[in-house]
Structure formats: structure tokens, C-alpha cells
């Protein structure tokens, strides 16, 4: 299959509600040509709704959706040429794999030979060339998923929409299929929007991610931007693991009801007021109380210890707060058992502040 012409998708100020319940609020996203774009958000945040809006199964109350600057809001689903892979695959049980994949090509009134060739090519792309005569119910979950993908890319859509395509697979297959999906997308160069509630999935394979919460886009950025510079505490919490401490800044000191008072280094000084400080577990250093150095030091006690191979995850009781600290499992890094007194050192360069 030849690489497709890459298109841009512009979603501008889209709002939508089911009856009185708002589901999307003023959503604007621009997706670049050929991008692998993830829509990430918790269950019920409106991801599927946005995807179905792009596919034409929902109508928004306001806003536009444009492909290469052409508004498609009024085009019916069957004229959009936007391929969608459904979460439940939606394979037709009364058709063979070949017939399923040929469906869209038949609708386009292509000559029989072309259809046969394109079906074979699509099935080969997903590695199912031997399975054309089977029925969907004679395939495993992973194979069904590939058929769903083949059926969609066979029509050479302008945009590929994937609604939680991996959620019905078991954990191991999920990791395998996501790299396969990415490889396929790179090969075809097709602009792809991938919906998931799994942050690891989104971060690992997407070029950029939009995080959705309660129908509002919270942040759009590359996986690293989201991880390193979350714009608010929701993103900080949802993307990766993070420690969050609420408190108040007064005269260069941070005062937390949980862990007491400490001086904020000049590097991260802010105006007085309520804030939350946030820091990732792997940016912390644990040491014995006698050996500690650094600008921010918090005394605490190890309460739990989980060995995860590459690193050890500690839960450290500091005041009334519990701080998660990841320490690499390397020679020379000390090991602490529950009950040990430790000092948690925070690197000011790695701290994020959220005004409450």
C-alpha cells in the first residue's frame, strides 16, 4: 500500500451536550499531518464523544471540525472517508474476513480485481493473509483486532481513529499490539487519533497527547512536556506518579499542614499565597539522616518498601504526609527497611508549583 496524503485535523471550539449534560466544553485541538495523536483521559471524560464527532456519529452544538481547512461538520459519516476502529471491533459476523475487509471498497464501487488486490494487501499489512476465508468468530481477540484495523485502512482513509483499540486484549498482547499499531501508522503516514484511558499507552507511542478531563482539554503536548511540565495538578496526577503537598507560601517559607515549614530555595521562590508543590518520586534522594545534604531536606520514616526490579519504591512518612520515593536499584545505593529513619532530599530544579 502506498503512503497516503497526509492531512491536518483542526478541531475548533467544539461544545456538545447530551440533553442538559455538557460532555465537551469548548474543545480546540490541532492535529498535524501524519501525527500519531493520543486523546487521553479518565473514563467518562468525553474521549469517545469527540472521536465520534470527528467520524460524524455525533453532532456538536457549536464549533467546527476541519480537515485540511475544509469544514466537515455537515458531511454524513459515509462521505467523510475517516476510518474508525471500534472498541468492540464491530466485525460483521455474517461476513468472512475477506468480505469484512472488502466492505468499504465494495461501497466505493471499485472493480472486482482492485478489491481483491487491496483486500490482500490490507490483510498482509496486518499479517493475516491466511485468514481471509474465516469468520470473525473463528479468530482470537488479537486477530479480530487486526481485521478491524485492516478493514479500516483498506479504504485508505484520510484520518485513522482508534477508540481504545487495545482495551479488549490481555496485558501482554496490548504492549505488543501498540508497537505494531505505531509501526503500521509510520509506514502509512496516516494522521491518527488514538483514544485511551491508559497514560502509559498514550505516553509510550504518541507524538503528542491531549489530556481531557470532564470534557475540557487540560493540556496538549509531547509526552515529555506533559510529564515534565504539567500545567495543573490534574495532569500532574494523571500523567505518571507524583507527590503533591498543599500548603502556603509566606515570606520565602513553605508552610504545609502535613509536614511543617521549610525554606524554599531562591530558584523556585514565588509570591505569598496558597500553593501546592509537586515532585516526582524518581527525583528524590533518600539517605540516612546523618549523611544528608541539599537545599530541601525532610526527615521521615520508611513505612513501606516495594522492590520493582529496576528501582525500589518507598513510602516515607513525613509528618502526617506520605511521600513516594523511587530509588534506583544500583550498587552503592543504600537500601532502607520499613521503620528506618531517613531524610528525603528534594532537588529544587525538579519541583513544580501549582497555585491552588
Amino acid at each position: 500500500m502506498d503512503p497516503l496524503r497526509k492531512v491536518r485535523v483542526n478541531i475548533s471550539n467544539v461544545s456538545m451536550s447530551y440533553g442538559q449534560t455538557p460532555v465537551l466544553r469548548d474543545v480546540s485541538v490541532n492535529i498535524e499531518p501524519g501525527e500519531f495523536f493520543a486523546l487521553l483521559g479518565p473514563s467518562g471524560s468525553g474521549k469517545s464523544t469527540l472521536l465520534r464527532l470527528i467520524a460524524g456519529f455525533n453532532q456538536s452544538q457549536s464549533g467546527t471540525i476541519a480537515i485540511d481547512d475544509e469544514d466537515i461538520s455537515r458531511v454524513p459519516p459515509w462521505h467523510r472517508n475517516i476510518g474508525m476502529v471500534f472498541q468492540n471491533y464491530a466485525l460483521w459476523p455474517h461476513m468472512t474476513v475477506n468480505e469484512n475487509v472488502a466492505f468499504g471498497l465494495v461501497e466505493r464501487r471499485l472493480p472486482r480485481v482492485t478489491i481483491t488486490r487491496k483486500v490482500a494487501a490490507a490483510l498482509e499489512l496486518v499479517g493475516l493473509q491466511e485468514y481471509g476465508e474465516r469468520r470473525p468468530n473463528q479468530l482470537s481477540g488479537g486477530q479480530q483486532q487486526r481485521v478491524a484495523v485492516a478493514r479500516t485502512i483498506a479504504i485508505e482513509p484520510k484520518v485513522l481513529l482508534l477508540d481504545e483499540p487495545l482495551s479488549n486484549l490481555d496485558a501482554k498482547l496490548r504492549v505488543h499490539m501498540r508497537t505494531e499499531l505505531l509501526a503500521l501508522q509510520r509506514k502509512l503516514g496516516i494522521t491518527t487519533i488514538f483514544v485511551t484511558h491508559d497514560q502509559e499507552e498514550a505516553l509510550s507511542i504518541s507524538d503528542r497527547v491531549a489530556v481531557l478531563d470532564q470534557g475540557v482539554i487540560q493540556q496538549v503536548g509531547t509526552p515529555m512536556e506533559l510529564y515534565d511540565n504539567p500545567v495543573n495538578r490534574f495532569i500532574a496526577n494523571f500523567v505518571g506518579t507524583i507527590n503533591l503537598l498543599p500548603g502556603e507560601v509566606r515570606g520565602g517559607f513553605f508552610d504545609s499542614p502535613d509536614i511543617g515549614k521549610f525554606r524554599l530555595p531562591a530558584a523556585i521562590a514565588v509570591n505569598d499565597g496558597k500553593i501546592e508543590i509537586a515532585f516526582r518520586p524518581h527525583t528524590l534522594t533518600l539517605s540516612s539522616p546523618d549523611r544528608s545534604t541539599g537545599p530541601i531536606q525532610l526527615p521521615g520514616t520508611v513505612s513501606e518498601r516495594e522492590f520493582l526490579g529496576e528501582f525500589v519504591r518507598y513510602r516515607v512518612k513525613v509528618g502526617t504526609a506520605e511521600i513516594v520515593a523511587d530509588q534506583p536499584h544500583l550498587g552503592g545505593v543504600p537500601d532502607f527497611l520499613p521503620g528506618h529513619a531517613v531524610t528525603v532530599s528534594i532537588d529544587p530544579a525538579q519541583v513544580r508549583l501549582f497555585t491552588a
Binding site: 460483521w92 466492505f103 469468520r135
Partner: protein, 570 residues
Amino acid sequence: MTTTVHRQFTFTQAAIALAIALFLMLFLIVPVLMVIYVAFANPDGGLTLQHFASFFQISLMRESFWNSLIVATLSVVFASLIALPLAYFTVRFEFRGALLIQTLGILPLIMPPFVGAVAMQLIFGRSGSVNLLLGEWFGFNLPVMQGLNGVIFVEALHYFPFILMNLVVSLNNIDSSMEESAQNLGASGLRLFRRIVFPLAMPGYIAGAALVFIKVFDDLGTPLVLNVTNMLAPQAYLRITSVGIEDPIGYVISVLMIGFSLFALWASALVLRGRDYATMQRGYSGLAKRRLKPWQTVIAYGWIILVLLLVLSPHIGILLLSFGNIWSFSVLPDSFTLDHYKTVAQDSPRMVWNTMLYCGLAATLDIILGTAIAYLILRTKLPMRRSLDFMASAALAIPGVVLAIGYLRTFRGVQLPFMDELLTSSWILIMLAYTVRRLPYALRSCMAAMQQMHVSLEEAAENLGASKQRTIYRIVVPLMAGGILAGFVTSFMTAAVELSATIMLTTAQNDAPMSYGIYLYMQSAAGRGPGAALGVLAVVIVALGTYFSHRLIRSRAADQEARPLQKIEV
């Protein structure tokens, strides 16, 4: 072609909905309203209760009123007495009942009670086989076929499977985990039954009982064949056919009959409201089954064999009658012959053809209407779409006699276009009556089939470039084929044995379907043999049709047996 999609529905959908609504108005709502209107109308057009007063002044009418009520109620009681133990045995114990239940469920559909009624008289009547034997050996008789008893007996035996089937379905829908969690929380034995099993099975029982009540009320053929005329349906028929289409008493009876049907539906809806547990629970396994102890097995099978013998007696009786030379005052016919079949072969090919034609057309119309209504209701946002379902289902509450009276009155004098014939004397009206009366069955079947189909299967087709029409053609109809076919079969079979409306709407011998023929034959003692032969023929035709369509459905179902779509949840 670029159509806009911001409207909630398309012009085509609205036009189809309107056409269906018009059809139902014309051939169901208006005729019924006409009947009701006439029952309340003065000669000068004003409203009056005078006709109802006259009705209750006639002692025969009062008697008929009570008789109908008693017969319908007692038929439900006896049908329940037969059905409850059978349902309990099948669901609760390990024993091969499934096949039996299925067979029993189909029997009343393929042979209506009036066909077997004469045979029942020969077997259970005052001088029938059973009483002759009882009298000879024990010196007493069972008056089961005397007067109203006969009607009750025949109806209960024919219609108990409706209760049985519904009950078994709801019992099977009870997840064993529901029972187990009740046991886990400390309930057992009778308390478990009373607090969990019974409430959960209630909807099925009520639905079945209401159906039996309505069916019995509706049945005109059985009382007529048994020569019991002091009931409402026969009185309505006799009034209209002997006194005339103007006689208001016929309309009063009709309104009362509609009232009772509506009452039964309303009462069951009231009990069922908010209790529709029949929604599929994934992975249910039914109630835990127990192994029968040997003595229990004996009792269970004994009971079942007794019931089976009773249930099959009309069928066996009809078969004997059709081959019997003379059967009167004897346990079995004196000798056997093929003469009755010869008579039927000469007299009635036309009737067989008529049945095929009317029922085939009616069932085809039914599945077209049923699929269209199901689609409009479940897949569009057309305003007032629910009212189509309501209108179509209203036919359930309208007895055949009433619909026929409504037709005769409403279409009085209407000339068929391009033909020199009145609509009321044409077979088209018979066919339309079948269509309207059987539409609720076909509709249920189509709705169920469409509800089982996940909407994403259609969206995927649209996503790949198929318009709404193409999606219906390539995805919806093929996937619903099993359900549609089942709807066709049910409509066809039940229309083939319809008598209530048929008797009233058949005006020419030439246009008569088989059910009418059987009824005519059964009127005279000499006609019983040929009538039975025609009955056997009807049963065979209907049974063969059912069998082949079931095979067709099964083979289709086998190759599309989809892995059940998972519920979408993150």
C-alpha cells in the same frame, strides 16, 4: 451527493413512518373506533348508554357476559395448574424436559383449539371413549365436555403452553448467583423460593396468564364448534350475521370484549411495571439443578406422561377421526378408510391455495412493517416514533370478531379500484385482517433481533462509506434475517389457523381459506371426517413450514454465531 446530517431524522424516515401510521390508522384504529362509536351512538348521532342498558336487559346477554368471564378465568386457572409443575420440574431438576417444553410450546400454534374440539368431544364427551370406558368399568362419567366445561377444558389444554414457556424463560433467566447469594445470606427452602425465585419468575407467569386470558376471550371457533353460543364472542358473531350489521348489540359486545382484553393487558402491565428482569444477564446459568430421587422421577414422569396424553388427545383424536369410517358411541372408530382425504383432495385445493396466498402475503407485510417499525424506533430519533409500536401492539387487545365487525362497518360500500367488487366481499380484507392481527408477533421478533445487534456494527458500515440505506441492505437485514424469518413463521402459522375474523370476513366459498373450510365441515356430522382430514392437512403443512424455517434459521445462526460483543467500559 452530500446530505446534511444536522437534522435528527431524514425525510425518507419520516415518510415511511407516516405511511405505516396511515396504514395502521386505516386498518386498525379507525375500524375499532368505529365499533366503539356505534356502540355509543344514537340513531341521530348523539352519544348514549341506551345500547348498553338494552344489552344488560336481555337475559341471554347477561348470561353470555358472565359465561365468557368465567370461562376465561377458569381456563387461566386450569392452564396454570398444568403449567406450574411442568415448569418447576424442567427448571429445577435434571431431567430431559427441554425438548418436551419446546414441543409443547409449538403445539397450540399449529393446531387451534376449534380443530381439536370435535375430537375432544368424541374422546371425552358424554358418550366419548373415556366415558364409555369409565362407565363400563367403574359405573361413573366425567362431565368434562358438558357445556362450558368443554370450552374450559379445551382452551386450558391448548393454551397452557403460553404460561409454561414464559415461566420457563423467566426461571432460566434467574442467575444461579442470585439464588446462591440468597443462600449465602441465609435464605433456603421455601423462604428462598418465596423471596427470590417467585418474585423473579412472576413477570413470566403474569405475561403468560394474560395472554391465555385474551386468547380465550378472543376464541370464537371453539364455542361454535362445541355448540356453546351463550358466550360473548359467539353472540357478537350471531348478532351481526343474523340480525345484521346495524344491530347495536353486536357493537356493545365488541366494546365489552375490547374492555376485557385491555383490562388483562393493563393488569399485567401494572404487575410487571418496573419488573422486567428478563434483560439478558451475561453468563447466567439458570437455577441450580438437582438430581431427582427415584420416587420423584416416577412421579415427575408420571405427571408429564399424563399431561402429554391429555395435550395430545385432540391431535390423536383428529387423526383417528380423519381415518375413521364411523366413530360414534364407541371407544375407537369402527373401521378405517382414506375416503375423507379423497373428499378433501377434491373439495379443497382452492382452500389450501387461499391459505398460502393470504397468510404468505400477510406474513410478508408483517415482517416488512415489523422491520421498518423496529428500525424507526430503535435507530432513529423521529419524534413520536414510539406511537408506531403502541399502535401496532394495540392489535393484541382487539379480538378478531371485533376487528372484522369494524372492517365490515367502516368499509361498507367501498368499491375496490379497477375491479367490480366491494372491498368487504374481497379476500383482500381477510388478508389485511391477518396482517394487522399478527403484526405484534412479527414486530416483537424484529425488535428483539435488532436489539441484539450492537449499533457499532452499523456505524462501522457507515464509517466505511455505506449510506443508511446501504447499511440497512448489507448489514441490518442480513444480521436480522433469523429474527425476521422467525417473525414470518409465527405470523404465517398463526394466521393460517385464524378463525375469529375469518368466519366473519369470508363471503364467498371460493375465497375461503382452510380454517374456514375446517369449520364448515365440522358443522355437520357427515363433515367431521373430511373436516378432520383437512385439519390434519393444515397441521402437516404448518408443521413442515415451521420445521424447514427452523432449520434455515439454525443453519444461518450457526455461521454467524458471533462472539457476544463485550460491553464497552473502560
